[in-house]
Amino acid sequence: MADENPTAITRAEVEHVAGLARLGLSADEVDRLTHELAGILIHARDMGELDLSGVEPTSHPLPLVNVVRPDEISPSLDRDEVLAAAPAVQDNQFRVPRILEAP
């Protein structure tokens, strides 16, 4: 651990998470974010010390449930218009670069 605090985060972890999110961070940014994320994690740890046994976890800020729509079809977008916005198109499909590296 780069920090003596048990909830802190290492540079390697920040780089791993940035990689998962496809973020290219400079060394300075990794330093800054390691520090800032550690602060957030410490804050979360502080909350973890409170007795919250009677408090339901919040999954949404509004007290709403069951917002649904009927199962009825509406027209979709015009395909040509959508594909015109794509970087590459072939046979009416989105053409994307190879997905996996060769093994």
Binding site: H60, N66, V68, S76, R95, R98, L100
Partner: protein, 487 residues
């Protein structure tokens, strides 16, 4: 391979089932298989900025139907979550699924008398379909890929069994029963070949029931019940062999190759924490009400196990026949309608026609029951004609083929082609007398021969008589009349 240890497989199955809704899970694009590429797409399922998902009410109703059918617990509240990963078949770069709080928990299903536990079932959206171009269409060798987003956002129920399954055969039984249930309650068309039902298997081995679970391996890409069974058996053998030689099993995902008849390792999987699940802020929790659950309960049809039992009891048919009737979409309904329309014929004959000629016809032509020319009343007519002796089984087959081709009524075909079975003793007697006169040698050999020879000659004479009657002689009557003449 010398097996010192009798390894015991521990198997859990994840079944992804596409729900037969009209629209997608979070938008009003059509949920349709086989539409031209990228014709059922909108800002929501393309993940365009500013678009917002709204849950399809029917997907919830379908989940609740499954809850009633398989005794799931329905939690007061379930929550959607984002599973984050980058892959071109997910235009949003995350999949909306359910993680900590699924819509259904702890169900059970009876598979050939054994209760298999179901851990959970959760709602999630399907991904788009990618075709890999170049390199023989394999993802690793492809030069690029083409993506069709028609399937992106189609509702899926992922049904996760407990690790209660102990053999490939039981795994097949589990999937087969689950499929029958999903079909019966009308929530999916469950076609493994078209991908509307997909099965992944988690397999590990241990030396005895008392041991802890071994390291599990996930296998994917089985697109039929047959390949599911073969893939599991193969993976059990592979792991047993590895354990015998002291190898360590690696936790990984392996890909079943149907042509090569083997599994091979895929890229190593991201760990669950790498998906960075978090509650989907654009969707509110689902909290099924007592009214919703009651409405579903009241509209639930008879379930496959119960229906099989009832048909076996009512019609005296075998379990395999009952299974076929219940497993083929619409076949049990068709058979029941035909039996109800019988006028003197036997249910047994209806079932034989359904599981024999009719099923063969459906398999050959790829038609569905709704699209065939012969309706249940017509099939009942045919069974009546068998029942009253007008048609033998082989003649009935001929009449069936004619009727199913153009929808003509069995009685019309019988009259037009003059196919009715001949049961006139005088007419059949005349035919037999002619056959005996023309085959005096055979008759002589019959009388001189031993049991074996007699049987052979008798069969020959019977065949000649049947031929002379153009296949229309009543077999029982012909037999009886022949016996009288050979005394």
């Amino acid at each position: 391979m010398s097996t010192k240890t009798q390894w015991m497989p521990v198997i859990g199955l994840e079944v992804h089932c596409e729900l037969a809704t009209n629209t997608k899970l979070f938008c009003s694009c059509a949920n349709a298989f086989g539409a031209p590429p990228n014709t059922n797409i909108c800002p929501v399922c393309l993940g365009l900025p500013g678009s917002l998902p709204v849950l399809n009410a029917r997907a919830v109703e379908f989940s609740l139907r499954l809850a009633e059918a398989l005794n799931f617990t329905v939690p007061d509240k379930s929550v959607f979550a984002r599973k984050n990963y980058f892959y071109p078949d997910m235009p949003k770069d995350y999949q909306v699924t359910q993680f900590e709080l699924p819509i259904l928990q702890a169900g059970v299903i009876d598979v050939d008398g054994v209760t298999i536990g179901i851990e959970r079932a959760h709602l999630e959206e399907d991904t788009g379909k990618s075709s890999h171009m170049g390199g023989g269409g394999r993802i690793h060798d492809a030069e690029y890929s083409l993506v069709d987003y028609n399937r992106a956002g189609v509702p899926l129920l992922e049904i996760v069994s407990r690790p209660d399954i102990r053999s490939a055969e039981q795994a097949r039984g589990y999937v087969s029963e689950l499929r029958a249930v999903l079909l019966a309650i009308g929530v999916s068309d469950v076609k493994m070949e078209e991908g509307s039902m997909r099965v992944d298997a988690n397999i590990s081995l241990r030396a005895s029931e008392a041991d802890e679970f071994g390291t599990k391996v996930e296998i994917k890409n089985m697109n039929s019940l047959r390949s599911l069974g073969r893939a599991i058996d193969h993976e059990i053998d592979r792991q047993a062999e590895a354990l015998e030689t002291g190898e360590t099993i690696i936790q990984e995902t392996r890909h079943w190759d149907e042509n090569e008849n083997r599994t091979s390792g895929m890229r190593s999987k991201e760990g669950s924490s790498d998906y960075r699940y978090f509650p989907e802020p654009d969707l509110v929790p689902v909290a099924p009400t007592a009214e919703q659950r009651a409405a579903v309960r009241d509209s639930l049809p008879e379930l496959p196990a119960r229906r099989r039992e009832r048909l076996i009891e009512a019609w005296g048919i075998t379990l395999p026949d009952a299974r076929i009737l219940v497993d083929v979409p619409g076949l049990a309904d068709y058979a029941e309608a035909a039996v109800a329309a019988l006028a003197g014929g036997a249910a047994r004959d209806v079932v034989n026609l359904c599981t024999g000629d009719l099923l063969a016809y459906l398999n050959e032509t790829g038609r569905t029951l709704a699209a065939i020319a012969l309706d249940p009343a017509g099939l009942a007519d045919l069974a009546d004609l068998i029942g009253d002796g007008t048609l033998s089984r082989s003649l009935a087959q001929e009449v069936f083929a004619a009727c199913v081709a153009d929808g003509s009524s069995p009685r019309a075909v019988v009259a037009e082609k003059g196919l009715a079975q001949v049961s006139d003793t005088g007419e059949l007697g005349t035919i037999l007398d002619a056959v005996i006169a023309a085959n005096a040698d055979a008759v002589a050999q019959y009388h001189a021969g031993d049991d074996k020879e007699r049987k052979k000659k008798r069969g020959f004479l019977m065949g000649e008589a049947m031929k002379a009657s153009k296949g229309q002689g009543n077999p029982q009557l012909l037999n009886q009349l022949l016996d009288e003449r050979l005394v």
